[in-house]
């Protein structure tokens, strides 16, 4: 039974939720606002909130000085490529762990997750040397591989939990119906897990898009994605907050929009009705 909630209580909890939401969103809002200020207004003390001369000058300068589209394309290819590659590897891995577990499956899952606890900088040096040796430095291919490896444990974990919810009898039915392993995964498991796979892919796309450590350290000019685009406005000539904010806004806009529109697509529910 649903508990009765008094109007006052509802008002307070709604207010609190909005306050937390705004608090989390505030840095992004501030970045967006700053991107429309002049450099002087951007560093003014006390800070100016809304009462400034709105200008698009920063965007014009950023657009003029850097090739935004090239960075954007690199981000899309690196984030998309690593996510796609990760899912292709993770689906069979998660399948075996969910449906033919061994005694060690839980250990393997935990061990994979433990690799996420290692500070990335700890393996920077060996990774850098490997990249030089393989000629992968400043290439999209290199970044696709490295970001895929970094996010693979999370992809496998997420898919594993989704697959665990799919009744094994449906896969057994497919086997009885003459499906081999490939058909079973392709025609039965994957379509049933699409909501799960989609949300996994979306999350990993966002993680890869925002990844800054490896993308900054392993690229120079050719393969640099939007994280490098932002960084390029923070160092050489001192800090230009307004231009940095404009660059940041341009870098995060695509992923913000993607996240906003895909929310509703991630609702699960396709697997209901198969098994009572």
């Amino acid at each position: 039974m649903a508990r009765a909630i008094s109007p006052q209580r509802k008002f307070l909890t709604t207010g609190a939720a909005w306050a937390v939401g705004l608090l989390i969103f505030f840095p992004i809002l501030w970045t967006i606002l700053t991107s429309f200020k002049t450099e002087a207004q951007a560093i003014a003390s006390p800070p100016i909130f809304l009462n400034f001369d709105w200008t698009l000058e920063n965007y014009a300068v950023v657009q003029e000085r850097s090739n935004y589209v090239r960075f954007l394309m690199n981000s899309i290819i690196i984030a998309g490529g690593s996510t796609l590659l990760g899912v292709i590897i993770a689906v069979p891995a998660a399948w075996s762990m969910a449906f033919v577990p061994s005694k060690r499956t839980k250990d393997i899952l935990l061990w994979m997750l433990s690799t996420k606890m290692l500070p990335a900088v700890g393996v920077l040096y060996p990774m850098y040397l490997i990249f030089i040796k393989l000629g992968l430095l400043d290439t999209r291919t290199g970044l696709v591989v490295v970001l895929m490896l970094i996010n693979l444990p999370i992809i496998i974990w997420m898919l594993y939990t989704y697959f665990k919810e799919i009744p094994g009898e449906i896969l057994e039915a497919a086997r009885m119906d003459g499906a081999n392993l490939r058909s079973e995964i392709l025609y039965v498991l994957t379509p049933m897990a699409i909501p799960g796979i989609a949300s996994t892919m979306l999350l990993n796309f966002i993680l890869a898009w925002n990844e800054a450590f490896w993308t900054l350290n392993l690229t120079a000019a050719q393969a640099a994605p939007l994280t490098a685009f932002i960084a390029s406005y923070s160092s050489p000539e001192g800090l230009f907050y307004a231009k940095l904010s404009a660059a940041s806004t341009m870098a995060i806009a695509p992923i913000l929009i993607l996240g906003w529109f895909s929310q509703k697509q991630l609702v699960r529910g396709l697997t209901f009705g198969a098994v009572k």
């Binding site: 009898e169 119906d177 198969a274």
Partner: protein, 334 residues
């Protein structure tokens, strides 16, 4: 053809042997029911035949061919699961088409077979719906349709009716029996419901703890149960089993008498007891009798109605020709 032979088949999960060495032959066209209490290994046995579980030792032959190491898809069997196990993302048509698609059958033949199956199972109007939009009975029919189109050498049913309500269950039971008459294909049916076993089977296999207690026709099991377990399991209400002096009078350790083989009188009879609960079904009356001094509670089945009340004293007379005698090991004495 659909003859299935199990030769010295065993199954262990780790250290635990759930099926001790077992031999069984299921003849072509036979409707065989595996029945037993839950955990007796009947579903495991079915899954071994299907190939969904690997047998630990022994051999399985299907139509004389060793199928022990064949994957499920290559055994030519079709299975209907308790949970229906339909593909939720496919329409009914695609569900039924799936095994045909896997077999690489051309679309025209697929359509013909699907239409024929849908017609036979009253599914024609539902072909474009998804499983989620169907009732339990319709889903079960789709699962059967998916099995039929493959034209398998045998059908395997794993408690297919236990998710349905009582009325639907009776209907589906008849449909499956009729299907068997029409197709004359081997069917192996797992259930814990002895009524399903009695009404559908040509041959019943009673299992307990992975061991076959008896194999026979329903009436053979009813009239000549090989031991006290089968005697107690087959028949509803259960057979009254008594030990002690009353059994000793008949030179046996245990005697059994079915509830329907006892007559009730208010004035005289061999045994005396007190009425506990009387269940009036209209067609029959089940009287649960206490204080007979023979067993905790004896059940008597009377055809029609009888006016007895809680606490009444009644007299019971067993039909001595229908008395079952068992020795100390529980085995039948001829």
């Amino acid at each position: 053809m659909g003859q299935i032979e199990l030769k010295q088949v065993t199954k262990s999960f780790g250290e635990v042997q759930v099926i001790p060495p077992l031999d069984l032959t299921i003849h072509d066209g036979e409707f065989t029911v595996f029945v037993g209490p839950s955990g007796c290994g009947k579903s495991t046995l079915l899954r071994l035949i299907a190939g969904l579980e690997d047998i630990t030792t022994g051999h399985i032959e299907i139509d004389g061919v060793d199928a022990t190491n064949l994957v499920p898809a290559k055994r030519g069997l079709a299975m209907v699961f308790q949970s229906y196990a339909l593909y939720p993302h496919m329409t009914v048509r695609k569900n039924i088409a799936f095994p045909l698609k896997m077999a690489g059958i051309d679309e025209k033949t697929q359509k013909e077979k699907i239409d024929a199956a849908a017609k036979a199972l009253n599914l024609t109007d539902y072909l474009d719906r998804r499983p989620g939009q169907l009732s339990g009975g319709q889903r079960q029919r789709v699962a059967i349709g998916r099995a039929i189109v493959r034209e398998p050498s045998a059908f395997l049913f794993d408690e297919p009716l236990s998710n349905l309500d009582a009325a639907l269950r009776v209907g589906m039971r008849l449909e499956i029996s009729e299907l068997h008459k029409k197709l004359a294909t081997t069917m192996i049916y797992v259930t814990h419901d002895q009524v399903e076993a009695m009404t559908m089977a040509d041959k019943i296999v009673v299992l307990q703890a992975g061991v076959i207690e008896q194999v026979g026709s329903p009436l053979e099991l009813y009239h000549h149960p090989r031991n006290t377990f089968v005697a107690g399991f087959i028949g509803s209400p259960k057979m009254n089993l008594m030990t002690g002096p009353e059994a000793a009078k008949h030179d046996s350790a245990t005697i059994g008498i079915r509830p329907e083989h006892i007559t009730v009188s208010k004035t005289e009879g061999l045994w005396k007891g007190r009425v506990g609960v009387a269940e009036h079904l209209g067609s029959d009356t089940f009287i649960h009798v206490h204080d007979t001094g023979l067993m905790d509670m004896m059940t008597v089945r009377i055809t029609g109605d009888i006016a007895v009340n809680h606490g009444d004293t009644i007299y019971l007379s067993p039909d001595m020709d229908r008395l079952h005698r068992f020795n100390a090991k529980g085995d039948r004495i001829a």
